[in-house]
Symmetry: C2
Subunit: 408 residues, 2 copies
């Protein structure tokens, strides 16, 4: 039998996948499962955008320009200007999801054997992409005690080698909900300028900010034209994850010219999703106001419940719709599995994403888990009831010190 | 400024792209351009499928299963059974276009530095994918004199090294229109079994066969379960190129398990395109009968016109909607550019894809070009009028021997 490649052999499976059979078994037993493990919102995609797609004249569903329909790119230019981002249709390539945007960015930046530095905990699929392309993720640990703030410059400099090609951040962060400040982005500028690196910023959660915080795009930081690569997607913004519609933007012409070769090889992004995406740009601000209000309610619900549980450490996430939590348990992989396999409270339980899958450093995240607050507050409260009860009876319960959390 | 990667540096630009500015300039001068350079059909996407998408309840456009919606995969199982292909929902991963299917296949088969053997001339983007993933395409030359039939087994064996991981064919072939016979597929089976290689078959043109020929899928060849990987797409079948909806199918479980990691890293294929694709499977056979009849008319129109031109060598393609033609010219890159830049006949000219971009061997294809017969016969006849006149006045005209073409 022919062998499969080493690079896919080295590619990790999705860390969430392992628990799916346990969730399915729980449901078969009649236990309801609250899915706090995935970032699939229950919010409706704005109807007006969907209507535009459904009423469009689709005689021949043809290829678009490899960089995306010019009408969509023009709308995107206008869209980003609302965030203070000045860009042009030539500086962007429309992609099949943020995933493809990331794929293009990594391929254009890094060769096999090269390294990309990423603050951990990080979005687990970064490792999936990197490993399959023979790129090594070099983690820099952020700490729960500081709410997962950017590690110190020294920590980056210790990790930089001649193989380092880029730093990759997620801002606002999946999985921690942390929002990088302008000062932190400027620190990163200092590093990438000094060491001639790219700074890839995954900004797909830009629209979800709380407590008056505003998001700063890497594209608005002065002096970054040659270094900054922004990855974005409509998945979370408009609750349109299944549309697979993203974009990669950079003012570095050489880089975009290389990425364009990749875009041409795969011919075109989805025409259907572009028609949807173009119409969605006209979504009124009131939609975001309402959605953010709803998420904020969910956020405060989950955070206050978690912070009230003894031994649970939960920072105050100010962006995205996740929180990364430390539990008084021996092992969160076991705990999350146990929740599905052996526990129920009033016929219900919850599913979380164990923390280890979000760290590259062996042994980290062993007491942590990611919670996506993507359900309504009634469900979230019930899920928190389950969690609270579970922590009382879980056989692997340990003591954790209540640490002082610094402000985010 | 940070450097871009060597691998994207080695990735060729689309060979067709180079001529686009000349086509645009021609149009600005008022010259009409017949686009025979790209495989973008003018045929309508079946209305019933489009209607199903446009009437679907799209409340939340959510992620689907990473391998594709189960309902769509079940329909695909039924669809392929019509072609004598026995498969299951577990043996397939639905992809964002045939392009992503190919990406997964290459990544799961081959590491950086590995080789994939491909009969040339081949679909130019194979090189784009391979190079960007550090895989080398090793060409085996097929010849116009035999209508681009499969090269002899000896030719393959001469090329196989310890780095060879797969053979990749396109059947029916883009760019030659050649259809591999059962005997040829069995020859390939002998090779892949002996040398433990994958056989990747790009079968996106399976539905376009002429003169009573029928297509043989690699998945129907006995003894190939561990070796065969089939790549497919709805782009050409239903004239839905912009939907970006493909599939990769293999009975090799280890391979599919590796490909599944890649599928999970990018989360899901397009939900919109899957709804479309699922509905399109109900397209009645009468659609294909009619469409194939139309393409056959176009094919015969183009072939008979080309074969009547002095010094032009045009085999008789029996599949897909391309023909690969040899012209009595010094250099087809120059000729194709000249057609756009300096020539017009009755205010019109034509655009073809120069042959060199479809060969990996330096110097081959220099008198050849690919013609896509994707326009109606009236337009095709006018385009052939232009070509005939152009060959009379092109300053780089050369003599070519009229060779005897063997039957396909």
């Amino acid at each position: 039998m022919p062998k499969t490649s080493k690079r896919t052999g080295n590619t990790p499976s999705s860390p969430i996948r392992r628990l799916v059979p346990f969730a399915e078994a729980a449901k078969k037993r009649g236990t309801s499962v609250f899915h706090l493990n995935i970032g699939q919102p229950d919010i409706e995609t704005p109807k007006a955008g969907v209507k535009a797609l459904q009423e469009a004249d689709l005689g021949v569903i043809a290829y678009s320009h490899s960089a995306g329909m010019i009408s969509y790119r023009e709308k995107l230019v206008e869209f980003y200007s609302r965030y203070g981002v000045t860009t042009t249709t030539e500086e962007m390539i429309v992609t099949n999801g943020g995933s493809e945007a990331l794929l293009f960015a990594i391929l254009a930046c890094a060769d096999a054997g090269d390294e990309i530095i990423v603050p951990e905990p990080f979005y687990a699929n970064y490792n999936g992409f990197a490993k399959s392309l023979d790129v090594d993720i070099v983690p820099i640990t952020a700490h729960i005690e500081t709410g997962f703030a950017l590690p110190e410059i020294e920590a980056f400099e210790e990790k930089i080698t001649e193989k380092t090609k880029a730093i990759l951040i997620c801002n606002p962060s999946n999985p921690t909900g942390y929002m990088y400040s302008v000062e932190e982005l400027k620190k990163l500028r200092t590093i990438v300028q000094k060491h001639d690196l790219y700074l890839i910023a995954d900004e797909v959660y830009r629209d979800f900010c709380y407590e008056g915080k505003t998001h700063t795009s890497v594209l608005t930081i002065e002096g970054m034209d040659e270094y900054a690569i922004m990855v974005d997607s409509i998945s979370k913004r408009y609750s349109a994850c299944g549309a697979r519609m993203g974009v990669v933007i950079s003012k570095n012409k050489a880089l975009m010219s290389e990425a364009m070769k990749l875009a041409q090889a795969r011919l075109s992004p989805s025409t259907l999703a572009q028609i949807l995406g173009e119409a969605l740009i006209d979504t009124p601000q009131s939609y975001f106001t309402e959605v953010t209000k709803e998420y904020d309610l969910r956020r405060r619900t989950v955070i206050s419940r978690l912070q009230a549980m003894e031994g649970v450490i939960c920072p105050n996430p100010l962006g995205a719709f996740y929180t990364f939590v430390k539990f008084p348990v021996d092992n969160s992989d076991k705990f999350c599995q146990w929740l599905l396999e052996e526990f129920s409270y009033k016929g219900k339980t919850l599913m979380m994403a164990p923390g280890t899958g979000f760290y590259d450093t062996e042994g980290l995240g062993i007491q942590e888990a990611r919670i996506a607050y993507v359900l309504n507050t009634a469900d979230l409260n019930e899920a928190m009831d389950c969690l609270e009860e579970a922590l009382k009876v879980y056989p692997g319960r340990t003591a954790t010190k209540n640490v002082e959390l610094s402000a985010n």
